[in-house]
Amino acid sequence: MNMTGNVLSQGEMDSVHRQSIKILEEVGVQFPDEGVLSMLEKKGAVIDWEKKTARISESMVTNALATAPKEFTLGGRNPEHDFALPSTYSALNLDGTGVYALDPATGDKRYGVLQDIGNAAKVFEAIPLGKVLWPPIVASDCPGGTRNLMGAAISMIHCSKHLQDEVKHVEEIPFLLGMLKAILGSEQAIRDRKIYSVTYCTVAPLMHDRDMMLANMELTKLHVPILVYPMPACGSTGPASLYSNVALANAEALSAIVLFQAATPGTPLIFGTAQGVIHRKTGLFLEGAPETVLQGVAMAQMGKRYGLPVTIAGCLTDAKEPGMQAVLEKVLTTLPLTLAKTDVIQGIGLLESSMTLSLEQILIDAEIGELCQRMGEGIEVSPEKDFYADVAQVGQGGHFLKQPSTRSGFRSSEYYNPSLLDRETYDQWCNLGSPNMFSQASDKVRNILNAEPSCPLPLDTEIAIREIMEEMRHKG
């Protein structure tokens, strides 16, 4: 059977749901726009016009969940990378809105630039489990108002997989649609292929950002999938118990689901979270802590309970540089999510609480994801794996090296072949120059960046996108 892991029993999930509904019904959520409040009022919400809050009933939540699709496919620019949800495995995504990059040449930390995002997209293209690309950092060398879209544009050019990003303002949408049309040809194709989805963060506690809310509502008209992604932190923007912080995050997610289903019923939604805890002394948001991933697993369970695809922040670390702490925390925050059958784990490639991009770390984290995936697949007990005949044939004191089933078994998916882990003899390892995971990853990054792109855009499409980038840069 597969290895599974959960943190909430059925009864405990019911308790979280009830507490979330109580929050929605009695406390309410702020939607700072009169048009949105009117829309929610027509759906049954109780509005406080002064506070701009809506109190949302359980029936509104139930109705919204009923119209949210339970299955859909995130298209890739290259259809070979189409990713069906729910997934049978945990795919990987980078984490967006980081600030810094470790320079590929010097290793020094500096503000991220557009080329870093392009490089990350190229590396991501090479990762088998990487199915959804969120441009990992914000390009400091682009004008302030264009940075999101510039990152999306360069990612479209260098990666043929599904793209996910934030849209912060309705003014960004014409540029975004222009780029998607350049690739797909029409708005209908944008709707059908779903090669782009948006990440939508609520503002904890219990608020929606007006500009982002209106922009995302606009995108629902094209059935652009939306990842609802609350981020309350225990003790600062959320209550200090993991249970109640999960209930708060769940309430925020449900409020977003109600919002977008009210705007356009049938809008594809992904249930998610990037909630966590703060460092009790400094207040810093901690991503690599056990308490963070425990909440992530709980939210993965809640999303599955509602029948929605699930993306959870994982493979995270608070370490400032690649190394032992980074790997320790990233394994800790990946394996439980894999065992909870999370559809997408979002966070590879970044360090320092998702602030700093490392191209090498993308590959190291991909290895962690693969290893955790293998763990989750567990042990297959089936007639195909019943090798009793070999045991009987070899008997006592022999060996199994020459058994046909050994040779085929070693080539089966039961054995994962790591690409970065050292499994050489000591002498072989010395002869190879004593490589470590990071140096191995550096070599691979160099090879990827120097290689011809595996799935480049047609030249005229790339030119069209670069023209839109120039237009955005000009307008600032």
Partner: protein, 213 residues
């Protein structure tokens, strides 16, 4: 008197806003010596909270509770403290804001609490504050220092815009200006012409202490 001073210290140390307020009223009603009330009462509480924080026994929420209890007492004692005869000097006036377009303000709230507890008069303008409003309020209250918070890389540019706006108005030199927020660094701060940066609230108090002497 010594018992009341001890209670004042403990009220702040334990973050008891109700008790701190009651003791502040008591001090007013009984015409207690303001310098003594502050130095041997309330201020001792916040100082001890700071020591416990440094020792790892107090966490950030404990410190914020102490700071807010201190703030409650200060608000009640405000008029009396400001009298020249009180012997209690304000350390300076600070305007804080999360920049326009940025709705995140938990970090700024914590910095505000710490600065208040340390003896600064803090005007917190809240989140998503228009650039010109920040400057207008600084002018209006004769601020010594402006503190600008930004959580997002897309909004941190507003910190630079406010610095430039101050220059346009010819009043940049009238104010010390500090910046903070997740994407902000020393490099950014110096690059935009800010006077300083801290990556946490306790450091922010030390920074402001250094800038306003």
């Amino acid at each position: 008197m010594s018992q009341q001073l001890e209670e004042m210290k403990n009220a702040v140390l334990e973050g008891d806003e109700v008790l701190a307020s009651r003791l502040a009223h008591y001090a007013l009603q009984n015409h207690l010596d303001m310098k003594q009330v502050m130095d041997e009462g309330f201020l001792r509480g916040i100082q001890e909270a700071g020591v416990l924080y440094e020792q790892g026994e107090y966490y950030l929420p404990d410190l914020v509770c102490s700071a807010d209890a201190m703030k409650c007492a200060l608000e009640i004692l405000d008029a009396e403290i400001k009298k020249p005869t009180s012997g209690v000097a304000s350390k300076g006036k600070v305007v804080l804001a999360s920049v326009q377009g940025d709705v995140h303000d938990i970090g700024k709230i914590i910095v505000g609490a710490m600065l208040t507890a340390s003896g600064y008069e803090v005007t917190d303008l809240g989140p998503d504050v228009p650039n010109d409003l920040v400057i207008e309020r600084a002018v209006e209250i004769h601020a010594d220092l402006i503190g600008l918070s930004a959580l997002l890389t897309t909004t941190m540019e507003e910190q630079r815009n406010i610095v430039n706006r101050l220059k346009e108005w010819g009043i940049r030199e009238k104010y010390k200006l500090i910046v903070g927020g997740a994407p902000v660094t020393h490099q950014w701060a110096s690059g935009i012409g800010a006077d300083g940066y801290s990556d946490d609230a306790v450091g922010a108090v030390a920074l402001v202490d250094g800038l306003i002497e």
